[in-house]
Amino acid sequence: MKLSRRTVLGAAAASALPLVPARAQKPTLKFGVLTDLSGPYQDLAGPVAVAAAQQAVEDYGVAGKGFAVEIISADHQNKPDVGAGIARQWADRDGVDVILEVANSAVGLAVAGVAKDKNKVYVNSGAATSDLTGSACNANTIHWVYDTYMLSRSTATSVVKTGGTSWFMLVADYAFGQALQRDASSFVEAAGGKVVGSVKTPFPGTTDFSSFLLQAQSSGAKVLGLCNAGADTINSIKQAKEFGITSSMQLAGLLVFLTDVHSLGLEVAQGLAITESFYWDLNDRTRAFSERFKPKAPTRRPTMVQAGVYASALHYLKTAEAMGIAEAKKDGAATVAKMKSLPTDDDCFGKGSIRADGRCIHPAYLFQVKSPKESKGPWDYYKLLATTPADEAFRPLNAGGCPLVKA
């Protein structure tokens, strides 16, 4: 591109525009969306999660209020040290008031520590670990969308109830996979089922799961529990279909996102049981949200993680306005306390609340992936099998070991 004087002047003028409201002395809330912009979680969170925060600002009608919102974003590269470094810099230098998203449990936990040290508000949507509201909970952290406990409870219990009484677990051999296996196995047994075997697959570096799948098949179990995520899940489902496992066993994905199903295609993914707390085509409110959001991501539908960024940004705005912008900016822990005291209500998760340990409470939905015949078009992927009510979906308040609960 040739740079003419006109484009240079134009660019200079455009870049000066955002400064105008600041000069008008409107108080500004600063959102930092810390997410995976270039790695495995880019599709389920990533740029669309940043757009979801923007959507919340628009839907809340910030433009017509006495304050402004600025959104910045950064890539944590799935490295805890990078994520914590950015969060620290945002707090110290950039004046960020609230940190949103943070997919990846390791980064999510690291950022929780920073939020506490710097007394900022931190609402996590994308991380799976239930430790965020358990042993690692703090007064600055809220966990919005889902966690390992909720996923394994909903999927394992429902599948056992519908006849899937014997399980074989395919486990990604690292902390996350093992945690999922532990939780899922305990729910299978609590529901009267039995875990007849498991195999740990090396992580990362396993692309071919066929050996493990044959071991699963020869175990004679009725259900194959997939305690893995991302490309591992996609590869194992694809290969289970290829080896005819899907005709003799039911597949239960313990952490599968809408974008994974999209990537698998319905031909392969059909019949899979999945738990999510949001699906774009769940009810009138979620559909309304998804239609409003469409211009920001025309080729895809939001995942529950992206919806979580929207919902948590909205709740934060509501809280900040209720307590006064200056107050909200001053004290992160006080703002989080206020967020916990106000009921949540948004188009994505409906009415809910935030518990003392920071856990946001809403129903969990068990879906089954549609067959290509049942699907009416792109992204029409799920049918609802069961709903776990909000008060049962998550780990009981006193069972997580969160120090805030005793106080």
Binding site: S38, P40, D208, S210, S211, L214, F243, G265
Partner: protein
């Protein structure tokens, strides 16, 4: 049912067969690497990225042009091969006189760029690619259920490996090529266009990677990282087989596939590591690799 070391025999046979299938991929990928290293002395770290590109081209042909698997098997290697020519002419050819390390750095950088661009354009969770209708279904072998497609992969890989070996070892073209790597100046003096031959060799090696990419597309997730997962193992295969040895890379490819398959039965957690264990042992005993010539 009889057992071997406490494991039911059918399970063991099944794993052996799966090992051969995975070995087919290792062999095909390491073959391309060995050809490029043997002829060009370039450690082509971009091989995994070009494997991924092959799969993406196949996906793109189907998605945008409706061109199916069989044509993709021909077209994707051609497209990626042409891309290889551009890479070689534009960048790699400038490094032949320098140390191996520079070629390694350049191709590693290229791999990162290609994978980054793919991730930026297509996201990270990958694309669906169906098994072609004529290769769907499975055969019951008694001890296991063998998907027809996996059988096809082994056959295709074996044919391709054999063809490459014949071209390089048994044809006049291959003879000239081998002579050019021994003494480029002398061969050039006979009126052979050596730089062109080298470019085409690189393109050929890269096309092999793309061919493997198309074969892999229906089995693995077509995503920007698919090559990165393979490349490390494939490098180990090449090192064990002996850098630049074609026979070595094919035999070790299949052999390591089998070893890996058996490890998955006896001690699954070690299955990603066992290849590197073998590599260490081989390097200690025979530094030039199993089939390599000591320099």
């Amino acid at each position: 049912m009889f057992t071997i070391l406490g494991f039911p025999a059918p399970l063991l046979f099944g794993q052996l067969l799966l090992g051969v299938i995975n070995g087919a991929f290792y062999a095909l990928l390491s073959l391309g690497l060995a050809v490029i290293f043997g002829m060009l002395n370039i450690v082509n770290f971009a091989h995994g990225a070009l494997f991924m590109l092959g799969a993406f081209v196949a996906w793109g042909l189907l998605e945008y042009l409706g061109i199916g698997y069989w044509w993709a098997l021909v077209l994707a290697p051609l497209v990626v091969g042409a891309f290889g020519i551009v890479l070689e002419k534009l960048l790699i050819s400038r490094l032949y006189k320098l140390d191996h390390l520079y070629g390694l750095l350049l191709t590693f950088g290229l791999a990162l760029i290609i994978e980054g661009l793919a991730r930026n354009n297509f996201g990270s969770s990958g694309m669906p690619y169906p098994i072609p209708a004529s290769l769907q279904g499975a055969m019951n072998l008694g001890f296991m259920f063998l998907p027809v497609y996996r059988g096809w992969v082994v056959v295709a890989a074996l044919v391709m490996c054999l063809a490459t070996w014949v071209v390089i070892e048994k044809t006049p073209l291959g003879a000239t090529l081998r002579a050019a790597t021994e003494n480029a100046k002398l061969v050039q003096a006979f009126g052979v266009n050596v730089p062109l031959m080298i470019t085409l060799t690189y393109a050929g090696g890269v096309a092999l990677a793309a061919f493997a990419g198309v074969l892999a597309a229906p089995i693995y997730s077509v995503n920007p990282n698919m090559g990165a997962n393979f490349i490390i193992v494939v490098f180990a295969v090449v090192v064990i087989g002996g850098m630049g040895s074609i026979l070595g890379s094919v035999v070790t490819g299949f052999g390591l596939g089998v070893i890996e398959g058996l490890t998955k039965v006896f001690y699954p957690q070690a299955s990603a590591t066992v290849i590197f264990l073998v590599m260490i042992i081989v390097l200690l005993a025979r530094p030039a690799g199993l089939f390599g010539r000591a320099a």
